[in-house]
């Protein structure tokens, strides 16, 4: 297990080097002066641009800047942003709780919806209940997140509000420490948006994997030796069928923590995704690089956790 | 005199040597944990095998599954590189040849595979599969290739109307005919048949065996015939080599082996052949039942590899490896690797002889001369 973690750490470092490098390449291809000019202010003369370049460290060569950035990372610092010369660490510290609230809440919802429907579909294959589950999954699966979000806002915010029912706030975010009630209300629609699309995927995942498991010999043996259908399904079947779900969950959480861009944009939540989108719009290289680094780290770390959980769930998998 | 030389001598005395295999080994590395502890364990699939083959003869190779007979076949067909040792074909060493120089030799050494379902590409038409040998090795025009393929199909008993069909549309026996046609296409000298009938129904086996025999007569083919079915091997072979855990333990002319097996392993194999006629059953009290499983080829027993399971094993068997050599009283060409070969009249030998008597040849009509 220690070796697994160690190897993943090496892999993580490799991934980070590759993607930060590519981020830098993408931004620097062409001329760095262009970048400096953007931050030199309106109608800046050559002198001001040069000043800006010095201030942002753009006067050094590409390799120097990249190296400088890596050294900073090693010290746990993402550096200062280009726009306001604020430490990026504090910007991320502000944005991360928003994204985490969004993701954690919707994970709970999508598992609560997805797992029961998936089990129901698998235990009653090709019945009306199964068809209903399939229809549910298909509908939301074919719906891009932003479409669902936009339609939710239209129906649950505008139409309800116009009908005199101000149940949901429009957009924005209130910290949980500020007002837990408002925090909850502001997040319901984003949670549902994200959760419904994901729940659809999980329904199918559980259905498929449970059907596979229920067809295995050992399940039939369990049935044959006289265990009740319920015991077999819940004690043996579901447990085994959850393994792929755990894998998927780890990957999804890792990816979403890096920024549920679309949901955040639609509902105006100032999370990591919004931070990244704004930074990209402003060509604020260090911020973009920081989010990229975070994202890849989350993905790799969650995968490592998944592997460990995987081994705990399934004794056949040994951890090296 | 080493075993090889003896064997070679026996072989050269009667015809042109086609193939010589000299002390060939094949070790497959076993990867345990890659990163740090690279362990050097390996499976010794073939471990010091020597044999020789004359033009036009059929060598039967028998042994339990996992004894290395299929690996040996693939080494001779140059599908795997050897770990050590030499293989000479028509006097030319082929183990060290690079791809380019190997190519012309591929025409001469062909292979028929065990699984007629796996050895034909399910997504290609039969005509296309059979034209492969011609397009790879010759400059024939499309029409010429087509003509050749039709001839070939007719030769192995397939209707040329089947040209455009997919393998899935054929029965197992028909597919094996396609496999044989492919091997035969370029008129090779040597065809290695790797359990060509073991995946087929018993009723079909005889047809395929007969086809192989007819083709041998017609094209002067030399066969290496690998099987675990002793009665089939006996029927088709001139000589037999018995393998156990990567080594040849006994080799000799077919009738010699079947009537006077010297190695306890051979004897036990022969005694295990099922009896067709109930009348013989009463006499078969001396059937040798081997104890234990085949040991792992990754860590073979010391000395004689058969000793843990051998009814005759003594102390020396565990320490000293017996050479494959001619034993007293045996004719030239009958070699046995055993410290205590089975004597005629010994219970073990009795058992094996009875088994042979009881074994009906595959289709009864043709007995091997």
């Amino acid at each position: 297990m220690i070796r697994l973690v160690a190897r993943r750490l090496v892999y993580l470092v490799l991934v980070l080097i590759v993607i930060t490098f590519l981020t830098y390449v993408v931004f620097f291809v062409g001329n760095p002066n262009d970048l400096a000019a953007r931050f030199a202010g309106r109608d800046a003369g050559p002198a001001q641009i040069r000043d800006a370049a010095v201030r942002l460290g753009l006067n050094h060569g590409f390799w120097y800047q990249y190296w400088h950035y890596l050294v900073g990372l090693l010290h746990g610092s993402f550096g200062l942003d280009f726009q306001n010369q604020v430490p990026i660490n504090s910007e991320i510290a502000r944005a991360f709780p928003v994204t985490a609230s969004l993701v954690v809440g919707s994970v709970v919802i999508w598992l609560l919806i997805g797992i029961p429907i998936g089990i129901m579909s698998a235990t009653h294959p090709r019945t009306l209940r199964d068809r209903a589950g399939t229809t549910f999954a298909l509908t939301f699966l074919s719906m891009p997140t932003f479409v669902l979000g936009v339609l939710f806002l239209l129906v649950f915010y505008y139409y309800l509000t116009r009908a005199g029912l101000s149940w949901f706030p429009a957009a924005g975010y209130v910290g949980i420490t500020t007002s837990p009630g408002q925090w909850f209300l502001h997040l319901i629609l984003p949670w549902l948006t994200l959760a419904l699309v994901q729940a659809a995927i999980y329904t199918r995942l559980i259905r498929g994997s449970l059907l596979d498991v229920l067809g295995e010999d050992y399940i039939r043996t369990a049935r044959a030796k006289g265990l009740s259908r319920r015991t077999v399904i819940y004690k043996h079947g579901v447990r085994a069928a959850l393994t792929p779900v755990v894998t998927q969950l780890g990957i999804d959480v890792g990816t979403l923590l890096a920024g549920a861009f679309v949901t955040e944009r639609v509902f105006g939540l100032p999370g990591l995704g919004q931070l990244a989108l704004n930074a990209i719009g402003a060509a604020d290289l260090p911020v973009v690089a920081a989010v990229v680094v975070l994202a890849a780290s989350f993905i790799v770390i969650m995968n490592t956790i998944v592997d460990i959980v995987y081994a705990l769930l399934d004794p056949r998998v040994r951890l090296a | 005199m080493t075993a090889t030389e003896l064997d070679l001598e026996a072989a050269t005395s009667e015809g042109d040597l086609l193939l010589e295999v000299e002390d060939v080994t094949k070790y497959f590395p076993v990867r345990t944990n890659a990163l740090i502890e690279r362990s050097h364990a390996s499976v010794k699939a073939v471990d010091g095998v020597s044999l020789a083959l004359r033009v036009g003869e059929t060598l039967g190779v028998v042994g339990e599954s996992g004894c290395g007979k299929s690996t040996l076949a693939r080494l001779i067909a140059a599908l795997h590189p050897v770990t050590s040792g030499k293989i000479r074909f028509k006097g030319q060493e082929i183990t060290k040849l690079d791809r380019r120089h190997m190519r012309p030799l591929r025409r001469s050494i062909q292979m028929v595979f065990q699984d007629p379902y796996g050895s034909l590409n399910p997504r290609r038409r039969v005509g296309s599969i059979l034209s492969d040998p011609f397009t790879v090795h010759t400059q024939m025009s499309r029409a010429e290739v087509r003509e050749q393929v039709r001839d070939l199909m007719a030769r192995v008993g397939l209707s040329s109307e089947h040209y455009n069909r997919f393998p899935a549309e054929f029965s197992g026996g028909q597919r094996q005919r396609i496999g044989i046609a492919r091997a035969l296409a370029l008129r090779p000298d040597l065809i290695i048949c790797d359990e060509p009938v073991s995946a087929l129904d018993v009723s079909i086996q005889a047809q395929i065996i007969n086809l192989l025999e007819d083709l041998q007569d017609e094209f002067m083919l030399t066969y290496i015939f690998i099987a675990h079915d002793l009665s089939v091997v006996r029927h088709v072979s001139d000589r037999i080599a018995v393998m156990y855990l990567g080594k040849i333990v006994e080799t000799g002319p077919v009738e010699e082996i079947y009537s006077r097996a010297r190695h306890p392993y051979t004897a036990s194999l022969l005694s295990a052949v099922p009896v067709a006629d109930r009348a013989f059953k009463g006499e078969r009290k001396t059937r040798v039942i081997l104890s234990g499983d085949v040991p792992s080829p990754q860590n073979p027993p010391s000395g004689c590899r058969f000793h843990p399971r051998c009814p005759k094993a003594q102390a020396i068997c565990a320490t000293e490896e017996p050479l494959l050599e001619q034993k007293a009283g045996d004719p030239a060409g009958h070699l046995t690797a055993c410290h205590f070969p089975v004597e005629e009249g010994e219970p073990l030998a009795m058992a094996s002889r009875e088994a042979v008597v009881a074994t009906a040849p595959i289709d009864g009509a043709q007995e091997q001369p």
Partner: protein, 365 residues
């Protein structure tokens, strides 16, 4: 059929089932001739009503995209023309569906929503199909090479694909488009760049299995070159997989394009794309009273995605080689049913979850 004993009836049913009753009826006279794997698949697909309806919709959509200029000419409204008098009410509210000759109404600038949707389909299909084709070509090639050669080539290519799959795709796509400026070509390239590893991994897995098959060994025994084996022996066995996953990747890529356009980084207005139509609608407040210019592009997008997903699903069902074996046991039937409903975005999932599987395999020999 005579009423035989119970056993007799059973046997009869079993036999009919073995030969797939639908196909039996279909081919009563034709014997076995012409039953190529593709034809079999087509016969199976034709029985799948959902898949056929979806195919119908896709064909319809393709025709709409091709004949977009003709159609809009028939309607009489160009996609970018602003009908400020006819298309907007006096207070500037868009005209609703069916009014003043606007079949699906107008948007906040008085443009015909239907015409814009028709032109938007061109973008969606161009990007969806274009990016998928590109991804398919690159993914198949690299997956084939990695799977066939194995060893260090596989290690390097496999790691490369892993790293690409560990990328925050959307974020990176956004960064690239932001840096180089949005254009149709760049959009296709960027989307393909991040979707090829999915195909690559799937192909690689398949090739590793195929490489060990006896027919490949047979080809090698014949002296066929590696290239020849890859092209003639392995590639034909990949076509079914490639077709299935390409069909399932198209909607993923269409959504990706729409999402990028929605975020303002894809197709730039005034050129109509379903994504930027939705984004434009959402920037104002007018859609709250004139829902149609928000909802119709949404519907177009969802229906298209749905059609591709359903069709891909049916296609997988029809082409799955494991189905072709004829007689299925109960277990296989259940598994088959499970696969039949296994899901579209699984393209991504399948590849995603295999990101770290290569490592897992190495750890558990």
């Amino acid at each position: 059929m005579s009423q035989g004993g119970l056993i007799g009836v059973d046997v009869e049913q079993e036999r009919v089932e073995e030969k797939d009753p639908e196909l039996l009826a279909e081919n009563k006279e034709q014997e076995f001739v012409g039953r190529t794997p593709w034809r079999l698949a087509w016969l199976r697909l034709r029985k799948d009503k959902v898949a056929m309806v979806s195919l119908g919709f896709i064909v319809f959509l393709v025709l709409v995209a091709i004949f977009a200029p003709l159609l809009t000419a028939l309607i009489g409204h160009g996609p970018n023309a602003q009908y400020t008098t006819k298309g907007l009410s006096l207070s500037g509210i868009p005209v609703g569906p069916g009014q003043n000759g606007f079949i699906l109404g107008t948007d906040d600038q008085g443009r015909d929503v239907l015409s814009r949707i028709i032109y938007g389909s061109q973008i969606s299909l161009e990007v969806g199909i274009g990016a998928t084709a590109l991804a398919l070509a690159v993914g198949t090639l690299i997956g084939l090479v990695a799977g066939y050669y194995g060893g260090w080539i596989d290690s390097i290519l496999g790691r490369f694909m892993d790293i690409l799959l560990s990328f925050p795709i959307l974020l990176f796509a956004i960064a690239i488009v932001a840096r180089f400026g949005p254009s149709l070509e760049l959009l296709i390239i960027v989307i393909a760049m991040f979707s090829w590893p999915y195909i690559g991994r799937l192909v690689r897995g398949q090739v590793i299995g195929l490489r060990e098959r006896e027919f490949v060994e047979a080809a090698r025994a014949l002296g066929a070159s590696d290239l020849r084996i890859m092209v003639f022996d392995i590639a034909p066995n990949l076509i079914a997989l490639a077709v299935i996953y390409a069909t399932l990747l198209i909607p993923v890529n269409i959504v990706l394009e729409a999402t990028l356009s929605f975020l303002g980084l894809g197709i730039q207005p005034p050129t109509a794309s379903w994504g930027n139509m939705i984004a434009e609608a959402q920037t104002g407040d007018l859609y709250t009273v004139a829902w149609w210019f928000l909802v119709f592009p949404c519907i177009a997008l969802v229906l298209t995605t749905l059609a591709f997903n359903l069709f891909g699903d049916g296609l997988r069902d029809a082409l799955d080689p494991r189905r072709g074996r004829g007689h299925l046991g109960t277990v296989q039937k259940v598994k088959r049913a499970a696969r039949a409903f296994a899901f579209p975005s699984e393209v991504i999932r399948a590849a995603r979850s295999s990101v770290f599987r290569s490592e897992r395999e190495r750890e558990t020999p």
